[in-house]
Chain length 471, copies 2
């Protein structure tokens, strides 16, 4: 029927449906539902150049039953429902291109249980990673995934987040043991038990990790924890070229050195960090490196890494085990984004990421840098290079259409370069709206059809965060 309607008529029907859904939800949730414009806009994309596409209403969930009520109401009226954590996603994952209800999960922020003997915990999805790590500190445990932002764990699971520690501790796919989720039919599923491994049926845990809320709404997570290391050593090491730094990374990984973090900053980023964080690093391609272990082993690892660095013309590798020195270093790394802004006053800093096989990392970074230079852009490079993953932080004057077009073109070429090298369109930021257009080139038509079949099987009405991931 809908196919035969004109665009206007369809919109009118959708408007009526959303009004009815909001009326139902409003009478149930009272003040926990809001249609205020400012709040709605805060619940859509605000970070990148993607338009802010606000939902029609925001509901603050406080329980699984709340989530079920919202989903069932939205299903009845055919209205989209978009889960919201902290809003730190980078590819428009929280936008509402077809309107609908933003389901704010931030009040579902209880740590439900911690099992130190099992190295796991169960949390609600609105718990943020910093909140969890505060909670765990006294138990000598931590949750290692660190995407930079203090994101919610539900959001981190949904975008398959990773970050600086992933080279040692894996990504969200490796650290979510199990989850519960409300499906489009309103039913709650539990994807796995708390056992460390299982061979009992389809791996729904990993299917929901990275699904960006398009298959269901995560309502709890069982997370793998790690012991806070007894000792940590960390340091910086400058290299003559990007390639030398990348070659040192490859040999470090190949040698089985269990490096906890190994981050590349190109000379542009180092210069920015020196200015912003008052450092006096040599303005060359530089690795920030960290090792976790016993006192003896972090000493041994740092020494070995120093030898590898020297082999590739890098160094000296200056490393420290004092917490205050390490903190200064990693604060500077985490502030890299902010450090970029003064490089082009008034510009917006647009972070994008790709990930290639490690053997192609130097090629990919080199070619990307050449592109930046040839285009006359400012776009420092930072990377979780132990995984072959790197970011450009492109500085764009959003009021200059030419500058915007140039940056879009640059990012598109960067993604295509990654795909041509056997890499992916995104190592950790996810697809959202921004990278949907690359999905066919990355996966091929048959694979996308399989993804669409799964989506349709679990969400036949297409109400769960529509317009994301699948083109």
């Amino acid at each position: 029927m809908a196919e035969r309607m004109g665009e206007r008529a369809r919109e009118a029907v959708a408007d009526a449906a959303v009004r009815e859904a909001i009326a139902s939800l409003s009478s149930h949730f009272g003040e926990r539902l809001s249609i205020g414009r400012a709040l709605r806009e805060q619940h859509a994309n605000t970070i990148t150049w993607l338009d802010n596409e606000a939902p029609d209403a925001v509901v603050f969930a406080e329980s699984v039953e709340d989530v079920q009520f919202v989903v069932r109401t939205c299903a009845r009226h055919g209205v989209p429902v978009i889960a919201f954590g902290t809003g730190s996603s980078l590819e428009g994952q929280i936008n509402a291109p077809d309107g609908g209800i933003s389901l704010d999960m931030s009040r579902m922020n209880r740590v439900l249980s911690v099992h130190p003997e099992d190295l796991d915990c169960v949390v609600e999805p609105g718990v943020t990673r910093k909140q969890l790590n505060e909670h765990l500190r006294d138990a000598g445990l931590f949750f290692p995934i660190d995407p930079g932002a203090d994101a919610s764990l539900g959001g981190m699971a949904s975008t398959r987040a990773s970050g600086t520690n992933a080279v040692r501790y894996g990504t969200m796919k490796d650290n979510v043991v199990a989850l519960t989720a409300v499906l489009a039919n309103g039913e709650v599923i539990t994807t796995a038990r708390r056992a460390k491994k299982s061979a009992a049926g389809y791996d729904l845990t990993r299917l929901f990790v990275g699904a960006e809320g398009t298959l269901g709404i995560i309502t709890s997570l069982t997370l793998k924890l790690s012991g806070i290391p007894e000792a940590i050593s960390a340091g910086v090491c400058a290299f003559p070229t990007i390639r030398a730094a990348c070659d040192a990374v490859i040999l470090t990984i190949q040698s089985g050195l269990p490096v906890a973090r190994i981050e590349l900053l190109d000379e542009v980023q180092v210069r920015a960090c020196n200015a912003y964080s008052k450092l006096d690093l040599a303005e060359k391609p530089t690795l920030f490196v960290e090792f976790h272990g016993t006192q003896a082993s972090v000493h041994e690892q740092a020494e070995r890494f120093g030898e590898i660095a020297t082999d590739f013309g890098g160094g000296p590798f200056i490393w420290e085990t004092r917490p205050e020195d390490r903190t200064k270093l990693w604060q500077a790394r985490h502030d890299a984004y902010w450090a970029c802004l003064p490089l082009k006053p008034g510009a917006k800093a647009l972070a994008t990421d790709v990930c290639v096989p490690l053997s192609r990392l130097a090629d990919c970074v080199d070619e990307t840098k050449r592109d930046i230079e040839e285009m006359g852009m400012i776009a420092p490079i930072v990377g979780h290079v132990g995984d072959g993953n790197f970011h450009t932080v492109t500085l764009v004057d959003m009021d200059d259409p030419h500058d915007v077009a140039k940056a879009k073109d640059f990012i598109s070429r960067m993604v295509k370069r990654s795909l041509a090298m056997g890499g992916t369109a995104t190592g950790e930021h996810g697809v959202g709206q921004g990278k949907r257009k690359y999905m066919e080139a990355e996966h091929g038509a048959a694979t996308l059809d399989a993804m669409r079949a799964i989506k349709a099987a679990l969400d036949p009405l297409n109400i769960m965060n529509p317009g994301k991931i699948l083109p």
Copy 2:
């Protein structure tokens, strides 16, 4: 229509369909298709107490196109297709309860590429793990997953295999980077790129790992490799009780000691191994332990483990770094299954596994041992205890219905005990036919419905290994 037919009429239709499918396949594959009874029976379950349910024919695939041809032919006639690797699965995964075509993948056994810099390789599914490790040795690399049998890597992926090294290196879910598979519609999908991580869409890799061929036929695998460790230390340590051994395991894991293997043998199993492998171990609950790393770190790790063992009344921990000593030890561990057989001459040894949160491991093993004693059975226990995973090897006189019934009852209670402790029905053997009946208790109805929806979406005709996993 089929619903209104009687059982006989349905069978006649199915018989006709399978005859037509075999005729089509036979004219295409010639001698690579066989309907010989002995060969067909070898391609069904031969290991456990599940009946041997032979397929109607066996086809030896040599290419992706062969697999596509078989699947498309089977789809056209509505005939089941069951992938076969080496036949070492333990829960009837390769049985053909509804007849159909066994698709033998053993000739697709080429290592397609090895990328030492990326620590990965691409293989066809018929490559076995020992074959791969032979191939890799000169490059200083190895594939760590070791389920005991020299299984095919396609089969290991399909059952989500793990084994002794999983505590350090993970299971197949952690070591398959990407795969290609032929879907029920005959299309080939590629689940991921060779990049170490990606956030680009649904994780079809992990969906196919553990799906036991019910969603498609794996035609190649990109596998993560590890460097052969510079040094290895290994040893044995006896404990006064199972609980003391388990407590030592918990503290070892909690301390972040990166143990590569930590295997529990109960005193019954130790006695059997002493006799079979000519060892003189104390006949007590015993841990076999191995550490991988640098010379200094494996020394340090072994020393630390020795201290932990002493804290729980275990020890002395006698460890070695000489390969010949380690080989003898692990050969004995791998021969544990054979060592059990003389304990009850003429009996069949039925291996089953469960996996519980580590904190419940001692409870679960203790209660299981009590059950064994009270039932007057012989069932040694061995376990990959760093993961909370353990096996019983139940010795059963298959000619004695009472003995068989008792053993079935015992295994059923063991699974229910695991589930009641937050564990799973199977940590690594998979579901197949044998554990389907526990899936509802493990997952709940809503989760099973979601799995069924995914199965129906990708295999609407239910031709891919029907009668497995889902009850």
